[in-house]
Structure formats: C-alpha cells, structure tokens
C-alpha cells in the first residue's frame, strides 16, 4: 500500500534524510533539539543491531534452530525511537514483534530466541526489565497494560511533579490487533479511569495477509477518539518522529494527562513470520516502495550530514556481525529443559494434581531407564 497522504502525519526526517520541523510540530522538534550526538548514535546503533539480529534469527529458523521467527524488519525506527522515549520507571507491555523495544530496556536477546526455539514461553523477569512478556493472543496484553496504569494512578504515582517517582505505561500492538475487542475495551477503560498510558500502534499495514484497508475504515490514530483517547499519526520509519511523539506523550501521561494513542505508520518488509509467504498476497513493487523508505539508511544519511564519520558506521557493522556470530553460537548451545520443569510454576502454591503427576512422571521415567 502506498500511504494515504490526506491523513496528517508527523514526519521530521524525510525519506531522503532531510530534517525539518513543520510549525505545528514545533514542541516535538524541541525534544529532538535536546538530544546529544551520543543519543543519536545510540538510535542508529540499536536499529542496525536489531536489524542484524533479525536477519540472523531468520537464518537460524531456516536452519531448524528456531521453531519460528517473527521478523520486525522495517519497523526498527518505530521500535527504537519509541523504546528510548520510555522512562526509567515506566512499564512496557509488548505484543510479540517488539524485539527493538526489548533491547532499549535491557532484555537479553537470547531470552527472545529461547522462546522462539521453544525452550520456554518467555522467561525474563518483567518486574526487573519493566518490559513485560510477549503476548501472543492479540490485544490481551493491552488490557493488562491499562490495569497496570490504573494501579499506578491508584498508587498516586501520576502528576505529583516528582519526576523520579511518577510513571506511565506504554502498550504496543499492531494494526491487526486493533480489531480485537480487548483493544476497544482497553481504550474505554483507559479513558474512563484516566489511566497514564500511551497506546503505540505500529501500523505495518498487513495483518498476516489482510491489508489494513480491510480491517479499518478510518485511520487508526482516530480509533481512540470515540472513547475519549486523542491520537496522532507519526511516520513510523522516522526514528526521530517516533522518539519525539512517544517522549512527549509519555511525559504528559506521567503528568496526569490521561491516555493517548500514537499510530506509527510503518511497513513490514519481511514476512509475518517464517511460516508466512507474502508473495501470495502482495506485490514486490509495494515492498520496493517501502524499502526506499527504510528507517535505517534514512537515518544514516541524516547522521552523515551531521558529520558522523565513516568509522562509526564501520564499527556498527562489525559489531552487528559479531553479535550475529555470538547469538548463533549461543543458540546452538541452548539446552532443552527437562520435562518435569513444566510442573514448576503452574501454581504459586502446591496443588495436589501437580504433585501427583510430577511424581508419576518421575517414576515412569525411572522405570524406563536412562535416556542416555
């Protein structure tokens, strides 16, 4: 799909790498003005890093090392930009494609690969990372995010003016998930309870094989308005626009402005997952159109014009290759946990059926002799 130009969209960095702030977005431009060179370099480094990781993960899946991979190629600007705008106390409720957001908050990439290899369902500590577990049932996590934000409000941690204490919540979901009832209920509850939350919709334009035109009749940034949740569309392939929009509206949510919805218009350059075949439902010309709007080369052009030298980009490329080799090695080294582990956390307190079945399994395995 080519973009619908009639819908207002904040873009600070044009596809050719030209930076400019339209007058109506001046307050967002001020946020970018406050960024130092190191932060800009970090955006680039992490976009390139997660792209390289993604390519390696696809290869690992093709080689049978992962059960499934969910590529985020093309969405790095939306993910790295918004991820870095999330504050140190804020909580993040992702869907299952937000690998870029994960690395902005210290989630180990191997934790994601373990899940996709099939050795766990996502065993990182969401309290420690503030990055909650991947949610595979579309939209389910958005209600959790709203409940969490309601709790933040009940705790009196919104709008106190104490920046070290106040916090907000961000929930990620895609254009496909907006059809889920849970997303509508989330918008409603967030508005009714004035919860400190930003809904970050990555409109990557395809819900597996259904184009966004088939799942919504109005631009998605307007989806919240009937519930009382204002919104805006940003260029999701513009890392600076995504950072500025998320930063401003997370700050406002923390200060007590209530919920807000950001639609990041981006594009899923790759397949839905490694089980998908996009050639069955979309033209290569469309993909080429969006490759010309890729967030990474665009930002590279911008940085080079800012005077960032070749050596930085060479270092990033080399670091990417090293990362790829490293995760490949670590993936090969992953071990499958013993079956008895499935009993460990079904309940927090002992449950007799679990106790009995664990004992049965142990006796059964012993009766069968060693697996070696």
């Amino acid at each position: 799909m080519t973009p619908d130009n009639s819908t207002p969209m904040m873009q600070l960095l044009a596809p050719d790498g030209t930076y400019g702030v339209p007058a109506q977005y001046a307050k967002y431009g001020e946020i970018i003005d406050s960024l130092g060179e190191d932060q800009l370099k970090t955006f680039y480094r992490d976009m390139a890093r997660i792209r390289r990781f993604d390519i390696e993960a696809i290869a690992l899946q093709r080689q049978g090392q992962l059960g499934l991979w969910v590529p985020a190629i093309g969405q790095e600007g939306a993910q790295i930009g918004s991820g870095y705008a999330v504050g140190p106390n804020d909580h993040i409720f992702p869907s299952y494609r937000e690998h870029g957001v994960a690395i902005t908050h210290g989630v180990e990439l191997m934790s994601i690969l373990k899940m996709m290899r099939g050795v766990n369902h996502g065993g990182w500590n969401p309290e420690e990372t503030r990055y909650h577990l991947y949610s595979i049932v579309l939209g389910a996590q958005v209600l959790h995010a709203v409940g969490y934000a309601m709790g933040v409000k009940f705790d009196g941690r919104v709008g106190t003016g104490d920046k070290d204490s106040d916090l907000a919540v961000i929930s990620y979901f895609g254009d496909g998930a907006t059809a889920e009832g849970d997303v509508s209920e989330s918008l409603l509850f967030a508005a009714v309870y004035e919860a400190p939350i930003v809904f970050f919709v990555q409109n990557n334009q395809w819900a597996i094989s259904s184009p966004v035109e088939q799942v919504t009749k109005v631009p998605l940034y307007m989806r919240g308005s009937g519930f009382g949740v204002p919104g805006m569309r940003v260029d999701g392939n513009d890392v600076l626009a995504c950072y500025a929009a998320t930063k401003l509206h997370m700050d406002e949510a923390r200060e007590g402005a209530g919920p807000y919805l950001i639609e990041a218009l981006t594009y899923r350059i790759g397949a839905h997952t490694t089980s998908d075949d996009p050639s069955k439902y979309r033209d290569e010309s469309e993909v080429e159109y969006w490759k010309a709007r890729d967030p990474i080369p665009r930002f590279e052009t911008f940085l080079r014009r800012q005077g960032i030298e070749d050596s930085f980009f060479e270092d990033v490329k080399q670091a990417g290759d090293e990362l790829a080799a490293d995760i490949r090695e670590q993936t090969f080294a992953l071990t499958t946990p013993p079956l008895e582990n499935i009993f460990d956390f079904v309940y927090s307190e002992s449950h007799p059926d679990i106790v009995q079945q664990r004992a049965w399994l142990k006796a059964y395995e012993e009766s069968m002799g060693s697996h070696e």
Binding site: N120, H121, G122, G123, W124, N125, P126, E127, H132, L133, S135, V137, A140, V142, L143, H144, A145, V146, G147, Y148, A149, M150, G151, V152, F154, D155, G181, D182, E185, S186, L188, F189, V192, I342, D344, F345, V346, Y347, S348, E349, H351, P352, D353
Partner: protein, 321 residues
C-alpha cells in the same frame, strides 16, 4: 447470617485487613451488586477501592490482571454465570497461565466471584453452571461455598491466595441462613467436608446442590437407606482423599450437580473414584445433573434441576447393583 451477608462480611474483613484488596465489577459500588453482596463496601472504602466498571467482562478480568501485576489483590464480580464468557479468553489464556509463562516471576492473586446456578426464575444466561470449563484449566483454583460459614471464610482465603481463584457463589442460596464463626476458620480452603455420615451410599455435591443432597439423605433415612453426604467445597483442586475414604467405606457413590453431566465435574470424579477405589465399589458411580441441553426457560427449571427425588432415584439404582 445469610450466605450473601457472609460473603459481604468476608469481603469487608479482607479489605480492612489489606489495603491492596480492590473490589470491582458491574454495579458493585453504590448499588452493592445486583445481589447486594458488595453492599456498603463502596461507602466504607471509597471510589479507589470499590468501583463500577464499564459493562465489559474481558476488560474487568484483563485490567484485574494488570492490577495484580502492580501489586494489588483485585476481587472482581461477574454479574451472572452466563456473562463470564466474554472474559473466557482473559481467564484461560492469560490469568491461568501468567505464573507459568513467567516461570514464577509473576503471581496472579486475582479473585473472580461468579453467582451461579439456577432456581431463581430468571431469563436466559442467568442460571448456568459453567464451572467445568474452568476446572479443566490448569492454573486456576475453584471453590464454591454451600453455607454462610464457608462463604465468610472462603472469600477471605481466596483473596489471600497467590493464585487466581474463581469463587462460584450459589445464587439461589444467597438468602439461606446459618451460623458463622467469625473467629476460627473451619478447614483449609481446598478441603471437602463430610456433612452427614452414612453407611450405604456416598452422595457427593457442591454449591447449591448440597442443601438438596442433605434433603435427599433425610428422605433416604426415612426409607431405611443410610446416605453419607460430602460437600466438595473445592472444585480445583478436588480433595480426593476425603472422597476416596468415603467411597471405600460405602462402596456406592452418587454425584449430583446442576451442570449438564456430559464432560462435567462428575465425569472426572467418577473416573478417579473408579481408578482408585475399584475393588471397594459395589456399583458404578452414578451421576445426577442437568440435562445436556441449553438451560431451559424459567417455567421448566424446577423440573430440569436435580431435586431430592432425582437423587434418590439414582441412589435406588446404585443400591440395586
């Protein structure tokens, strides 16, 4: 004290004891819920702890999960049994699995209160017994009180549990009165209770059918059949040792519930008793329940629901083996 009042008193006590306990759902605040189980709580604890929600059951349970992640102990009310299904996804794919999914990093101390069962002359979706759907799901705990004392203590223990607990409240018995001991909890949450000793047949029941089972035992005694009655109290986990001890003693088991019998709690319990008490049994485990139909219109429910006669018919069949 009536069961509804006992639940109310238990909720009040839990909210007084722990400021993290919240109570929310449809019409639970000023109105006190359609059955008045939460009456007075809004006045005592205020808007931030007792509040009405939009009419959206998935939203109620989904936000309860988020609140639990934030350290709260949410108690939610689903207004009627038949309205739980919009929340089925959140309960089964999220609430029940998050502790396991997170490898123990997250606990889910969420309580879902559901008035259930028939006998109140209501329209469709207000009289159902959906407990088997949830008992089938690993990660949930399920309890159902049959009397005011259990109601008072079960709701408090459910709230203290670090795991999600669904409490099925026998709505047609809400106004049934009985003594409540406010000082001493009767027994652990997941224990079955021997309600009446007997020697010929074991009659298993839970929730609203316990009263009916006791009536049947009384009538049975008049006919010279000694019926032992056990109140399951907990549907997940089930207190099998208590059930097996009675089955081994009497050799005959009849189980009753309002829910349709097909793939029901009694299906599972019959299988377990058969597996564990096979050599003690004098008869197959027999079951009395609702028919395998949608719940009927109110004018038919008296005939649809198991009563003492239907139970005794099964008892007679068991005795005839």
């Amino acid at each position: 004290m009536a069961i509804a009042k006992a639940l109310n008193a238990g909720l009040q006590k839990a909210m007084q004891d722990d400021p993290k306990v919240l109570m929310f759902g449809e019409d639970v605040a000023q109105l006190g819920g359609v059955f008045r189980v939460t009456e007075g709580l809004h006045k005592e604890f205020g808007d931030s702890r007792v509040f009405n929600t939009p009419i959206a059951e998935s939203g109620i349970v989904g936000t309860a999960i988020g609140l639990a992640m934030r350290g709260y102990r949410p108690v939610t009310e689903i207004q009627f049994d038949g309205f739980v299904f919009p929340a089925f996804n959140q309960i089964t794919t999220q609430l029940a699995k998050l502790t396991s999914r997170s490898e123990g990093f997250l606990q889910m101390p969420v309580v879902i209160r559901i008035p259930y069962g028939g006998g109140i002359g209501a329209v469709e979706h207000h009289s159902e017994s959906p407990e088997a759907y949830f008992a089938h799901t690993p990660g949930l705990r399920i309890v159902t009180p049959s009397n005011p004392n259990d109601a008072y203590w079960m709701i408090q223990e459910a709230i203290k549990s670090p795991d999600p607990v669904i409490i099925f409240e026998p709505k047609r018995r809400y106004w049934q009165k009985g003594p409540v001991n406010l000082d001493i909890a009767p027994m652990p949450l997941h224990s079955a209770r021997l309600m009446r000793e007997g020697t010929d047949v074991t009659l298993l029941a839970y929730g609203p059918m316990v009263t009916t089972a006791l009536q049947a035992a009384e009538l049975g005694a008049e006919e010279g059949i000694s019926i032992e009655v056990i109140d399951l109290r907990s549907l997940s986990p089930i207190d099998y040792p208590t059930l097996f001890a009675s089955a081994n003693k009497t050799g005959r088991v009849v189980m009753v519930h309002e829910a349709p019998t097909n793939v029901s709690l009694s299906s599972e319990i019959a299988a377990r008793i058969t597996e564990n008490c096979f050599y003690s049994l004098e008869a197959p485990v027999l079951r009395v329940g609702g028919f395998d139909t949608p719940y009927p219109p109110a004018k038919l429910e008296e005939a649809y629901l198991p009563d003492a006669d239907r139970i005794l018919e099964a008892v007679d069949r068991s005795m005839a083996y």
